[in-house]
């Protein structure tokens, strides 16, 4: 091939077509979505995150939770996600406008976390993060003990000390395990993961 202008033009145009469709379009159409206000309650959907949950998002990112946990519920015609109870409806673009980054995930070595905030309490999350296999038999999730501090009880036990810890890493008598700021932020973020608000573009799907 010696018609170089043609070569360069082709190299440019083929790439530009996909760039327009898969980059420019989502940037213009999906990248500027706003939350909607519910007419009945006046609340925003999706609801804003607390400052602590925002900080927790950074902990989630730093420790690579997304390599095992997805955050997307696929529609019923494409999957069994809804039948498996991952959520009452598929997730849509607006569900992610407060998420930085989007944490869609491509693996489910661990369960999907789209609605994990609806399933477990803060107490459970802390015990689970500290030693997953003690709380969830057969789990291969790594322990995040480095987000917790084991310390000697000074006077009265701390209010936020983890309760009912079992297993080899449970504190000895006179000691307690308390969450670091990172652990508290991470749990606040996990609790915020609940897509239980209604969005007009994603009605709940019934399963017949």
């Amino acid at each position: 091939m010696n018609r170089l202008p043609l070569l360069f033009l082709g190299i440019f145009l083929t790439f530009a077509s996909a760039w327009a469709g898969l980059v420019a379009y989502p940037y213009l159409a999906l990248g500027r979505l706003l939350p909607i206000t519910s007419e009945e309650t006046g609340e925003l959907a999706p609801p804003p995150l607390s400052g602590l949950a925002e900080a927790g998002m950074a902990v989630y990112s730093a420790n690579g939770c997304l390599y095992c946990h997805s955050q997307q519920v696929r529609p019923a015609y494409l999957s069994t996600d809804i039948a498996k109870g991952l959520g009452p409806r598929r997730t849509v673009a607006r569900d992610y406008i407060r998420s930085k980054p989007a944490f869609l995930g491509t693996m489910r070595t661990g369960p999907d976390l789209t609605n994990v905030g609806l399933r477990y309490s803060a107490e459970w999350q802390h015990r689970h993060l500290y030693e997953p296999s003690e709380v969830s038999k057969g789990s291969i999730m790594p322990a995040f003990r480095y987000l917790y501090t084991m310390q000697k009880i000074q006077g009265a036990p701390s209010a936020d000390a983890l309760k009912d810890l079992t297993g080899p890493y449970a504190p000895k008598p006179g000691y307690e395990v308390v969450p670091t700021e990172d652990a508290k932020a991470l749990v606040a973020y996990l609790l915020s993961l609940k897509r239980d608000y209604a969005l007009p573009e994603a009605p709940e799907e019934s399963l017949e």
């Binding site: 790439f15 760039w19 898969l22 420790n63 095992c68 997307q72 999957s79 980054p101 869609l104 057969g138």
Partner: protein, 490 residues
């Protein structure tokens, strides 16, 4: 008469002239290309060790879990980024630079640009990997390097791009060979890809799920429009070179190139089937993925017909053996990729180890093996020394080939079982872990084989640099090739 002239002035012989020209090009390429190769092999070994840590953590969750920097969620992206940017990209750049110089038929100019580029590139990978381990990962797949590392890589790349343009501008007149189309395209596409994601995902992040689209447009195109064209450029050069005959069909080359450019660039969204995007975006990617049959079959036929009748070359030529392994893997991985994009199958394989098996078939069995093949050809020409040991090359090949096949098989079977468990509403989630577990042990074992292969290759490369062993007059081959006349009579 000609012999008389030749004996008086060797340069009057055209073949000798060609040889002189080639060795001048190789001499000019020595430092920059060796720098890219050497650092690439270093990162390959580092990346393999990180991979082993990540793999064994899936078998033994309590392994090394007391330190934040060794947690699975940091080691895994550290593995991916060291092998993608530290190894594969640097190896690809090295091979690409050398091919470019050989095919432009001019000695490399301004090599200091490339040396600066190599230093910056490795600095970027180093800073980025430490950043991930320290907890600054962006958690954007294939783009985990923190925002303070990616500009270093971009600067490095800018030097390479500028150099490439100068090089092509001053090429000797003549036909522009198919490998050059692929290289030019890859060298122009990569900065566009990388700049786009740096702006839209790191510096001024766009909102929400739009990030997912841009993320996978990028991640898939790093494979499709950066590694694949470099790998194919190498195959289009090495196969005809080693067996000594031209490419089967010029027209198939053209068709293969343009259909790749058109279809591959649209593939990315098949990683997000069912995700929070307009249906047409996903559909477009699914269609484009299936259309990938066109470039893949075209290239497969072209390479097969070129090699046809010369498959005995696989017995003696290390370059050909690695390259043909890579080329065949390219066909298989692309077929698999097209099928995986079909939504019916995708709902089983999505979110499972099956996808990990697929990506290793692409980045390793295809691209990495292709780079090994090219390096076995290029390095002796750069330093004027033959590989010290044929048996080390043999060990390298078989450990890598058997290792990647076991890894692919284990992740594929494990992934399908895991996927079926995840799909069936009656099956408890925990079962998907139990079912996949034995296969993940097999995967870790295969990782040991691959790491051994890489250590052998690294040692051999260092031996090569040190000019170990006796000087050989001819290339290091697995066996003595049978001369053509003998094959004809046999």
């Amino acid at each position: 008469m000609t012999t008389l002239v030749a004996s008086l002035n060797p340069a009057s012989n055209e073949q000798t002239l060609d040889k002189i020209e080639r060795s001048a090009i190789d001499a000019s390429a020595r430092l920059p290309v060796l720098l890219f190769f050497g650092t690439a092999i270093f990162w390959l070994v580092v990346g393999s060790l990180l991979a082993l840590v990540a793999a064994f953590k899936m078998n033994i969750p309590g392994l090394m879990d007391s330190e934040a920097w060794l947690t699975f969620g940091r080691v895994r992206p550290a593995h991916l980024n060291t092998v993608v940017y530290g190894w594969a990209s640097a190896a690809g750049i090295g091979v690409g630079l050398w091919l470019m110089a050989r095919l432009c038929r001019v000695a490399m100019m301004n090599t200091s640009l490339l040396i600066v580029a190599a230093i910056f590139w490795n600095l970027g990978v180093f800073v980025g990997t430490l950043g991930i381990l320290a907890g600054d990962s962006r958690s954007i797949e294939w783009l985990e390097f923190p925002g303070y590392a990616t500009p270093i890589l971009f600067i490095a790349y800018a030097f390479i791009g500028i150099w490439g343009v100068i090089m092509f501008r001053f090429r000797k007149p003549g036909h522009v060979y198919v490998s050059q189309w692929y290289l030019l395209a890859a060298f122009l596409w990569f900065p566009w890809l990388y700049a786009t994601v740096n702006i839209l995902l790191i510096w001024q992040p766009i909102l929400g799920s739009a990030q997912g689209a841009v993320n996978w447009w990028f991640a898939h195109n790093v494979l499709g429009l950066w590694f694949t064209p470099i790998g194919l450029a190498s195959a289009y050069y090495m196969i005809p070179k080693v067996i000594g005959r031209p490419i089967h069909s010029y027209y198939l080359s053209i068709l293969g190139f343009w259909s790749l450019a058109l279809f591959y660039s649209w593939n990315g969204m098949h990683h997000l089937i069912g995700g929070p995007f307009p249906a047409w975006m996903i559909s477009a990617s699914v269609v484009a993925s299936v259309m990938m049959f066109v470039p893949v079959i075209t290239v497969a036929i072209n390479h097969h017909m070129t090699t046809k009748g010369h498959f005995d070359g696989l017995k003696w030529s290390p370059t050909l053996r690695f390259t043909v392994f890579g080329a065949m893997s390219y066909t298989i991985v692309s077929f698999q990729g097209s099928l995986m994009a079909i939504p019916t199958l995708n709902q089983i394989t999505h979110f499972t180890h099956y996808t990990i098996g697929h990506s290793h078939l692409g980045l390793y069995a295809f691209f990495t093996m292709m780079m090994f093949g090219a390096m076995y050809y290029i390095v002796p020409r750069l330093i004027g020394w033959e590989w010290p040991s044929a048996s080390l090359i043999r060990w390298h090949f078989w450990l890598a080939a058997i290792g990647i096949l076991i890894m692919f098989g284990a992740l594929t079977f494990g992934g399908i079982i895991q996927g079926l468990a995840l799909y069936d509403p009656a099956v408890n989630f925990m079962n998907s872990l139990y079912f996949a577990s034995p296969w993940l042990w097999v995967r870790s074992f295969s990782g040991l084989l691959l790491t051994a292969a890489h250590v052998i290759f690294a040692v051999h490369f260092v031996m090569m640099l040190l000019h170990t062993g006796a000087k050989r007059g001819e290339p290091t081959l697995f066996a003595r090739p049978i001369p053509e006349e003998e094959t004809l009579t046999a």
